[in-house]
């Protein structure tokens, strides 16, 4: 028994080769959901045996925005909200690269919302992985574009009166070719979803509802990180390919998870290349 335990503690973590070891310890709070999501992403990379030289990790600002710095791929940490615009430049300049954006709900959908809808509309090949913790964590727990109605944050001390975005509905309406939502409890489904999204050519979107034990969950008296995970178990339902418009997301009563969109349409850089080839074949315009 003792020998086995010793062997376990000295063995290297199987995903260590995907991580920048010299960046650890990471910045995340105990019981934060970001670690689960990053683990799922690393597992997806491992399962797919993707060429890491061709994966470019990009993020904006915030807790999730630090994710790009923890992976041993090329990475870039943009200004607030601009990860998708940066990724568009990367993909158009070098279509061999697969941009992956890991960022938060505030970064991607408040300050970066315009870039999200337009990259989805163009169908630029990239995976956008949004870790949705219902508030701005890095700056101390302020209200954001996904904060549920009536929720307490440091900038909605009397309850949030704004209507939040339904991110999967927004992504589907904007033109994403793959759309899914999971919670941090659905680690296996999330990993499978990420594998699927990484293999698709086009704009893919995966939302992960995540605990924020230090801020959002505390202000809203949701208990410990474990309590929040238990809550996900109790209220999350999987409704694959149901109408994303009706995919409720209410931390009190019901979170509808699953895959909502999985479709095909011509990808932007492929269309650019096709047009250029046709022009060159045709000769002088």
């Amino acid at each position: 028994m003792t020998a086995t335990r010793a062997a376990q503690t000295t063995a290297e973590h199987p995903l260590l080769s995907y991580i920048r070891r010299d960046r650890f310890p990471h910045i995340y709070c105990a019981a934060c959901g970001i670690g689960i999501v990053l683990n799922a992403f690393a597992l997806a990379l491992q399962t797919l045996e993707l060429d890491l030289d061709k994966v470019t990790l990009i993020s904006g600002i915030g807790c999730s925005g630090r994710a790009s710095g923890y992976f041993a791929t090329d990475g870039f940490h943009t200004t607030h909200g601009r990860a998708i615009a940066f990724a568009t430049g990367v993909k158009v300049a070098n279509p061999e690269l697969k941009p992956v954006i890991i960022s938060g709900d505030g970064d991607l959908f408040a300050i970066g919302g315009n870039h999200f809808i337009h990259a989805a509309r163009r169908n630029v090949d990239m995976l956008v992985l949004c870790i949705n913790n219902f508030n701005y964590g890095m700056t101390g727990g302020q209200q954001g574009p996904t904060t549920p109605e009536a929720a307490i944050t440091v900038t909605t001390p009397f309850g949030n009166i704004e209507h939040p975005f339904n991110l999967v509905s927004l992504a589907a309406a904007s033109g994403a070719v793959y759309v899914a939502r999971w919670t941090a409890l659905h680690a296996r489904q999330l990993t499978k979803s990420l594998e699927k999204a990484l293999q698709k050519k086009g704009f893919t979107f995966v939302e992960v509802v995540s605990p924020c034990p230090t801020l959002y969950d505390r202000y809203n008296r949701l208990g410990t990180g474990l309590d929040v995970m238990k809550r996900y178990r109790d209220i999350a339902v999987v409704r694959n390919f149901s109408d994303p418009m009706k995919a409720e997301i209410d931390y009190r009563t019901r979170i509808v998870c699953g895959e909502f969109v999985d479709t095909e349409k011509p990808e932007f850089t492929e269309l650019l290349a096709r047009q250029a080839t046709e022009l060159q074949k045709r000769g002088e315009p």
Binding site: R20, D22, R23, L52, D53, K54, T56, I58, R66, S68, G69, A72, T73, D74, G75, F76, H77, T78, T79, R82, A85, F86, A87, T88, G89, V90, V92, A93, N94, E96, L97, N114, H115, H118, L272, Q275, A276, L279, Q280, G283, E284, P285
Partner: protein, 383 residues
């Protein structure tokens, strides 16, 4: 013909188109932009030309996205550019700071129009001189060149790319609507006569590469995405590995270098034109489209018996201090004619100090001075 990168020969064309052709001749193969008067013709030309020569054009959702996409493309190994005017530049300032912090080779054409805000979209201005230098927060340096002719829209755009690649810095072609929309003769030289500079690549093994470790000239060699360097870059203060580092030491190691790589190499960057400055008692300073009127004024003034010379900064940032001092050696009065309410005059005063009077001849109305108006203002100033 238009499917060749370098359209060697003569053409009668517009400044904006010359800038697009200069960019292509310099090796630019990525353009991201957003329509804005009076810079739109650059985007239109790039949209037409780039697909024919293996480049890529994308119209983004706004100027913030355009400028950010340019950084993404440059980090992916492609020479990249955007073009805009005042209101667009105001949006790009966020990303120009990111470009400075991540030492991105990138070129921005700003065809200046009247401001502030929406201002005079179709009229000329030189109101972005200070915005180009100081637009983003924090301490950093950029390079800005100011063309005075259609030919210079072409030539200086090539130089902008060469400087951006050499110093890994956002570099401006700071044009005004006069030169942007003016049509005159452009001579495009043969491809092999065009001097092209490409960014320095890493020479160390991939595992040993430190993305922000500078060479002797204070500029770090640059790896690009997709080649296995697995490097990281951030807009946060960072160490040589590119990792965020929130210490005074890290900030002190980084920020002075971002400034000094331009300041200490300024002798290799600055350039200016002088006319009749030998023994000139009156020195007229003007740049860009306004310098065309100023040159005429200096010639007319000389014929009328005035001892007058012209100093035209071609590089506005870094400002050609030594060149101005030399040109002003015999001057008893310095006049600065600019299409704003007084911007470059402050920089001229910093160089001249209070050795001789420095007079401003401003014109913030959308139109250039006529040569006679400049001479009248000079005569009034001398009284």
């Amino acid at each position: 013909m238009v499917s060749k990168p370098v359209l060697t020969g003569e053409m009668f064309t517009q400044g904006d188109i010359a800038a697009a052709e200069g960019a292509i001749a310099a090796g630019c193969r990525f353009f991201a932009g957003y329509p804005i008067t009076p810079a739109t013709e650059i985007a239109e030309r790039m949209a037409y030309r780039l697909p024919l020569i293996g480049g890529r054009y994308i119209q983004m959702e706004d100027e913030i996205a355009s400028c950010t996409a340019v950084i993404g493309a440059s980090y992916s190994g492609v020479k990249s550019m955007t073009a805009t005017s005042g209101p667009g530049l105001s949006l790009m300032n966020e990303t120009i700071g990111l470009g400075a912090m991540t030492e991105t080779p990138m070129v921005l054409v700003d065809v200046m129009r009247g401001g502030p805000s929406t201002g005079q979209p179709t009229e000329a201005s030189q109101g972005d001189v200070m915005e180009a230098k100081w637009g983003s927060h924090g301490d950093y340096e950029i390079i800005a060149l100011c063309p005075s002719s259609v030919q210079e829209m072409f030539d200086l755009t090539i130089q902008c790319f060469n400087l951006a690649e050499t110093y890994r810095v956002p570099t401006f072609l700071l044009a005004d609507e006069i030169v942007g929309h003016m049509r005159e003769r452009l001579v495009i030289p043969p491809e092999d006569k065009i001097h092209i500079v490409n960014r320095k690549k890493p020479t160390v093994p991939k595992e040993e590469y430190l993305p922000f470790k500078p060479d002797k000239n204070l500029v770090p060699p640059m790896a690009v995405f997709g080649q296995g360097y697995h490097f990281y870059a951030t807009g946060l203060t960072h160490d040589e590995r590119g990792y965020p580092e929130m210490t005074a030491e890290a900030q002190l190691a980084l920020i002075p270098r971002l400034c000094d790589k331009i300041r200490k190499n300024a002798d290799k960057i600055t350039q200016a034109q002088t006319e009749q400055t030998e023994d000139a008692e009156i020195l007229l300073v003007a740049f860009g489209g306004e310098a065309r009127s100023a040159l005429r004024a200096v010639k007319d003034g000389g014929e009328q018996g005035m001892k007058i010379g012209l100093f035209r900064p071609i590089s506005i940032w870094p400002f050609p201090k030594k060149e101005l001092k030399n040109a002003a050696a015999s001057a008893k009065h310095v006049f600065v004619a600019e299409l704003n309410y007084g911007q470059l005059v402050g920089e001229v005063e910093r160089v001249i100090r209070s050795e001789v009077p420095v007079h401003l001849i401003p014109r913030p109305c959308g139109l250039p001075h006529t040569p006679d108006q400049i001479l009248d203002e000079i005569r009034r100033g001398l009284q």
